[in-house]
Homo-oligomer: 387 residues x 2
């Protein structure tokens, strides 16, 4: 392997669940960890101050959006994404692939890369494995992701096989580019964070043999750590849990394992139970803006008329600013009135719920009580809708 150390240490285990931490140029991340999504250089509806207050240790930025606006070269001139947005904690950037593959009818996949039209102005661009590396080098995230071929839905085995094979070839090219940048640079590419790590991605859909093959191919190339991609794309949750269950143990125990784009709170618990260390998802922030709030006893839709005069906080057990200061009645009013503060307050709460869940998971692993935590969590906080 040609990967460098990543400072990941597992400090406790409980079954397959792992408690640990990894080091980045912008500090330490306690795992299992959840990354709020800051698509365009901001987590929607909140400020960085809010993210510090809710205890976010790392956030995700979207390479697709940032490369189009304000542009990765502009961000590089400004010293990189951390400095541009003024967030001093770790950032992971995706490769841009997921967004580009989602541009149905406006993208064409070739071996070279993906030709796509910008959703902003229709301009044609190429996202290649090398360009995905270059953009992320300019952004200067602490963790860069390799460009993989994303399959939109579980798909058939032939499609999944083709994606695994292309992902392997692209991963080789992406890793070579990354190592070339690290070794001394590539003309025209400013590296704003020399300590950046690069994660490989395992594809293979819901096919065990393909997942095994993809793991081996990705390990053969060698990355600082590894992610499981191509899940949470429409397959039933039990199928996703199965894939995680047989894929995670194939990945090196001494590197964090990242399950991309997942998921609901109970997905996080179930994936941790199968050995996952890192997550990202738009669910807490997007649902907040739609008025759906997570609580320790279930979900609630704040627009429901039953909350019109409910003086209780969203979640009695939550210590977030929203739960300490706003009643359900007030939150419902703000939502119905279309006030921006509704998005802010709801987002603060949902992010707190997610990050609290991760803290509770980490504590449970240390105390050897993860199995009972998981059982209780499933009981109280799964798909149950309070309304």
């Amino acid at each position: 392997m040609t990967s460098t150390g990543f400072g990941f240490q597992v400090t406790a285990t409980d079954g397959a669940a792992r408690r640990g931490a990894f080091e980045t140029p912008h500090g330490r991340v306690e795992t299992p960890a959840f990354m709020p999504v800051g698509t365009q250089g901001a987590v929607k509806a909140v400020t960085w101050r809010d993210l510090e207050q809710v205890g976010a240790q790392i956030v995700l930025g979207n390479t697709y959006h940032l490369s189009l606006r304000p542009g990765d070269e502009l961000i590089a001139r400004r010293g990189g994404l951390h400095r541009f947005v003024n967030w001093s904690r770790p950032i992971l950037t995706d490769s841009g692939g997921y967004q580009v593959f989602s541009l149905a009818g406006r993208r064409r996949v070739t071996e070279e890369g993906v030709w796509f039209q910008s959703h902003l102005d229709g301009a044609r661009h190429l996202l290649s494995p090398e360009r995905a590396v270059d953009i992320q080098a300019r952004l200067g995230s602490d963790i860069a992701m390799i460009l993989d071929e994303c399959v939109a839905s579980p798909g058939d085995e032939a499609t999944a096989r083709a994606a695994v094979e292309r992902t392997r070839r692209w991963a080789r090219r992406g890793r070579d580019r990354f190592l070339a940048l690290r070794a001394g640079g590539v003309e025209g590419v400013t590296v704003t964070n020399p300590g950046q790590a690069q994660f490989g991605i395992v594809q293979g859909g819901v096919y065990r043999a393909l997942r095994e093959e993809s793991v081996q191919a990705t390990l053969d190339i060698g990355f600082e750590a590894y992610a499981i991609g191509g899940l949470s794309v429409g397959e039933p949750p039990p199928v996703m849990y199965d894939v995680v269950e047989y894929t995670a143990p194939l990945l090196p125990a001494d590197r964090p394992r990242y399950l991309m784009g997942v998921g609901t709170p109970w997905d996080l618990v179930e994936a941790v139970a199968r050995g996952i260390d890192l997550f990202d998802c738009v669910l807490p922030t997007r649902n907040a803006r739609n008025g759906q709030l997570f609580t320790r006893t279930g979900r609630l839709n704040i627009k429901n008329a039953r909350y019109a005069e409910d003086e209780r906080p969203v979640d009695e057990a939550c210590g977030c600013y929203t739960c300490r200061h706003a009643s359900r009645a007030y939150l419902r009013h703000l939502f119905m009135a279309g006030e921006i503060a509704a998005a802010t307050l709801n987002t603060l709460h949902n992010l707190t719920f997610y990050l609290d869940t991760m803290r509770r998971i980490r504590d449970a692993i240390v105390f050897g009580s993860f199995a009972s935590f998981r059982a209780a969590f499933r009981e109280t906080c799964t798909a149950r809708l309070l309304d």
Copy 2:
């Protein structure tokens, strides 16, 4: 006069400018003071925590909006507006008149009051002088405003005279209702803040004789304090300043004088110079959401391309969260990307600018340097656009 004390004390004067404070059931307000506008139970794009941090001592709530949604009876059942929104500092509510008179084509003015159709569902409602008092009693603001007849533009003298006369008749009815509530209640009206004060409003357009007449009629009825209405409705600023200059000295020196709906930062300074103590305006918050920011050296439009790589804060001399943490380049990016955080950060800055301006005004009056402050302010911070 049948008014009660309002605890207003003038502690320093400098020319016609006054430095003082008044007491309300929710605490003290240092004057001259500016009230951020919280139309629907929230100041747009920020939370109450932000308002405390920027130093807002009092905010304005809109009776029209709150009475329609969530409804003044609901708010009364929840203990009043302070408790419903969880803001413990003073609140002033307007009468709802300004919004109702603005519903061109959807309102009909009679002596009884204004019949109007809700902008939400088209339902017909009557806003009468008595109902304006009742609604505000339920909301429980610290300061309630009398229902006056609002003239949309400066208008001719006959129109202004008719508005003065109707305002006088309505003021009598509104004061009677307020005193009846104070004396022991009116069936069906919950008074959520027994210490509420009521301000009268002087009309008269740009006609000196009418303003004098309206002052006398309003003083004859007697209120805790007095406001100048019907300005900032399209007349040129020098005309507005003239009206303030001859109207303010006619109002009792021992009561705060409130200039409604005003204005730009330089309007505030010019009105203070003429004896005004209290202001409200949507300008800092609305302009923030449109990307227009106030600074000590002029205004700037953050969407201007010249700021794309400008690493300076909006205002070097400003200590707000936005100026301490965000560059113009980042703020421009957030605005262009349509991020909600743009509205929040811009609003924090503009409100800080307004409230800092009031602090500087208060300090200047105490130190006897208001004239030089005013001259310097006009020089640097008037209509000059930096872009």
